[in-house]
Amino acid sequence: MTFWSRLSRPSKASAGVLLGLGFVGGILFWGAFNTGMEATNTEAFCSSCHAPIVAEIRETIHYSNRSGVRAICSDCHVPHAWTDKLVRKVQASKELVAFALGTINTPEKFRARRGHLAHREWQRMKNNDSQECRNCHNFDFMDFSEQGRRSITQHSTALASGDKTCVDCHKGVAHRLPNMSGVEGWQ
């Protein structure tokens, strides 16, 4: 008998059994789906294609610092909200195509394309007001009495007023910068 005819005919099983199958099946499916979402958020997963970048992050404050808090790739590059996260995951299908085409598979190609990719990421963070940074760094709880003078000057003005967002001033916080010629504010 076909799938559809079975589905449209009553079963001999009790309603309790049928509902139970749906309930347990639903939990298993949702668990498996979210496990998949998590597995594709790990640094091990990203490093399978972005090994050069994974090496660079080890020299930055977001890998090792006095507090021992780490930012991994997905903390900065994948939104937390479920819908935004899914949209970003679907968008990553483009990265699969680019991987197959080998757009950044040699150091030379990566260097040439890096500026373009960095601009895309800055633009994304500008559009969401650096939401990923703010998941960890909350302006409301910044203690200006603990910050350096340069920090206070900028944070209490352009950041507080909303004129600028984190990535407008903080570029290259986790990676080496690309060629910065032509980027606003950099010579």
Partner: protein, 44 residues
């Protein structure tokens, strides 16, 4: 990312959600029907 590209990915991303639920439903239904066919529904 251009506005057009952004719209494209958002449409595709939001369309994925109902797709995931439907695939999940079909998957669970297939598994449940198979289990039932081993037991009470052997002769249907």
């Amino acid at each position: 990312m251009s506005t057009l590209e952004s719209i494209f990915w958002h449409v595709l991303g939001y369309a994925t959600m109902p797709f995931i639920f439907i695939v999940g439903y079909i998957g669970v239904a297939a598994a449940a029907l198979w289990l039932l066919s081993l037991g009470v529904d052997k002769d249907i």
